[in-house]
């Protein structure tokens, strides 16, 4: 059983001072083994914060990051391959087909991406997953004034099975909604034959 924190688009300190306090209270060391960050931290203090949370920290380049990170990363956890890529490189932004292509191109079972996406997931017809943690600080998107609810994902990986927990800060202050977003066995055949997957 491996707990993986998927988090990104914090924009600290550019747009937001830091993680909301209710999130900080939950994110304590000793539980999470991997932090996978979709990018746009933007400053070094957030990276240091992640390194205190977990032994394994993987960060990819966002379009407003102060420091340089790889554009893409592939991380193997249990029996699955996770791909990490911010997504600002994909145009049109958030285009489903393009993201599917990226997932196949990276050769991963689950693509984790940020950028314009709100928290959620989609599944393609090959059984691949694309998951988005949203913005952990509720920072607004580039051309937008509306601020989304702060959110992140926590995935429990067991073999090829994942249980993804959604953490959402509602009412902007203290109520945390956490629920199982998705629970399934990830099994991908690249032969083009579609498979129905969920356990």
């Amino acid at each position: 059983m491996v707990l993986v924190l998927v988090i990104g688009d914090l924009f600290v300190p550019i747009k937001k001072p830091g993680l909301p306090n209710p999130f900080k209270q939950l994110l304590v060391p000793g539980k999470i083994s991997h932090v996978l960050c979709t990018g746009n931290l933007c400053g070094k203090e957030t990276e240091e914060y992640f390194r205190e949370l977990a032994d394994q920290v993987h960060i990819v380049q966002g379009d407003m990051d102060e420091y340089l990170y790889p554009e893409r990363l592939v991380i193997s956890i249990e029996s699955l391959k996770f791909g990490l890529c911010h997504g600002h490189q994909i145009l049109p932004v958030g285009n489903r087909a393009a993201l599917n292509a990226l997932r196949r191109d990276m050769g991963v079972d689950v693509l984790l991406t940020g950028s314009a996406m709100k928290i959620g997931y989609v599944q393609d017809d090959l059984g691949g997953l694309i998951m988005y943690p949203g913005s952990a600080t509720g920072a607004p998107k580039v051309d937008d004034t509306t601020e989304p609810d702060p959110s992140f994902l926590l995935i429990d990986v067991q073999g090829r099975k994942i249980v993804a927990f959604l953490y959402l800060l509602v009412d902007g202050v203290s109520a945390i909604k956490s629920q199982v977003l998705l629970q399934c066995l990830v099994d991908i055949f690249f032969s083009g034959v579609p498979r129905s997957l969920c356990a």
């Binding site: 707990l3 209270q25 000793g30 539980k31 926590l154 927990f165 953490y167 956490s178 629920q179």
Partner: protein, 330 residues
């Protein structure tokens, strides 16, 4: 001690030949120096003296079955994964008291410490390497069933003689020996938990009493040790907390435990034994400087003192016999 016409019954006879075991007679026999004839008798002796097993043997099957079933249930609970057992609304980062996930992480932390200590228990003994799995489960089960005290270093040493003896009983199933040892440990801990709390109050009271005992029995030795600033606080904590499991060979410890278990309340007797241990090495201590004296007491097992001598001295203290007499006769 009651006189019997055809000589005192052995421990095995006392247990096997009667439908209701006379525990008082068992205590008397052990007190007089009887040793259980075999592993099975010792295992039964200890469980009878701890009052785990009732004196009425017709109740044994039911009693054993009850606590063995109870233990199996506890172990099953531990093995549950929160992903399978957690109800809706519970999540991995939950800090709530009743969260299955929060509980899972607490268990994981305890396990790290237990794992370290189990591996260090009787490190040179191959028998104990085989018993690591059972010891780990028992200690984890105890810590979860008693969250107010949790797991503390030293419990592994108290468990060691119990699991060792019970698993050597001919024909016993490994899981049953484990359950029996769990139950005996829980019983021992009912008495010993005051000495395992973060507050060292009970322990220090005991050590002060040990100091007084030593002063009464051997004023010369006590004066010398005090002049060296060597007080029971230095060497006695481990002796008392671990029921002397680290101070003699395993076989000698078993004899010591027979004696300790035959008495209730135990602490005064344990104190008597501790002061006797100090007296037994008085020749080494009287001539020594701080370092030598401290080492003698802190590494007591290196003195190779015979446990029978220690017990003789402890008995002598109670009857008022002279120490010199005992020491010169050995």
């Amino acid at each position: 001690m009651r006189e019997k016409e055809n000589g005192p019954e052995s421990i095995t006879e006392l247990i096997d030949n009667n439908a209701v075991v006379d525990c008082q007679e068992l205590r008397v026999q052990v007190w007089a120096g009887s040793t259980p004839e075999n592993v099975r008798s010792r295992a039964l002796l200890w469980q009878l003296l701890l009052s785990c097993l009732p004196q009425d043997k017709s109740l044994w099957e039911k009693t054993l079955s009850e606590w063995r079933t109870q233990y199996a249930e506890i172990v099953r609970e531990i093995a549950k994964h929160p992903a399978d057992s957690a109800p809706d609304g519970d999540h991995p980062l939950s800090l709530k008291q009743d969260s299955h996930w929060a509980h899972f992480f607490i268990v994981r932390e305890s396990e790290k410490l237990i794992d370290l200590d189990v591996k260090r228990t009787h490190p040179t003994s191959s028998e104990f390497r085989r018993l690591e799995g059972p010891m780990h489960r028992i200690l984890l089960a105890y810590s979860l069933q008693h969250q107010e005290i949790g797991y503390r270093q030293g419990m592994n040493e108290l468990l060691a003689p119990l699991i060792y003896i019970y698993s050597e009983v001919p024909g016993i199933k490994s899981i049953d020996a484990e359950a029996d040892a769990y139950h005996s440990l829980a019983t021992v801990m009912k008495e010993m938990s005051p000495y395992y709390t973060p507050s060292l109050e009970a322990l220090h009271k005991e050590l002060d009493l040990l100091d007084d005992t030593l002063r009464l029995r051997d004023p010369e030795l006590h004066r010398h040790l005090t002049s060296l600033s060597i007080r029971p606080q230095l060497y006695g904590t481990r002796w008392i907390r671990l029921w002397l499991t680290q101070e003699f060979s395993l076989q000698q410890t078993l004899i010591l435990w027979d004696s300790i278990l035959s008495v209730h309340p135990r602490m005064p007797w344990i104190r008597s034994i501790c002061s006797s241990m100090v007296v037994a090495v008085r020749d080494k201590l009287l001539g020594a400087d701080f370092n030598t004296a401290a080492q003698t007491l802190l590494r007591y097992s290196t003195n190779n003192v015979d446990v029978e001598l220690v017990l003789k001295l402890a008995h002598a203290f109670r009857t008022g016999s002279s120490i010199q007499e005992i020491m010169s006769r050995r």
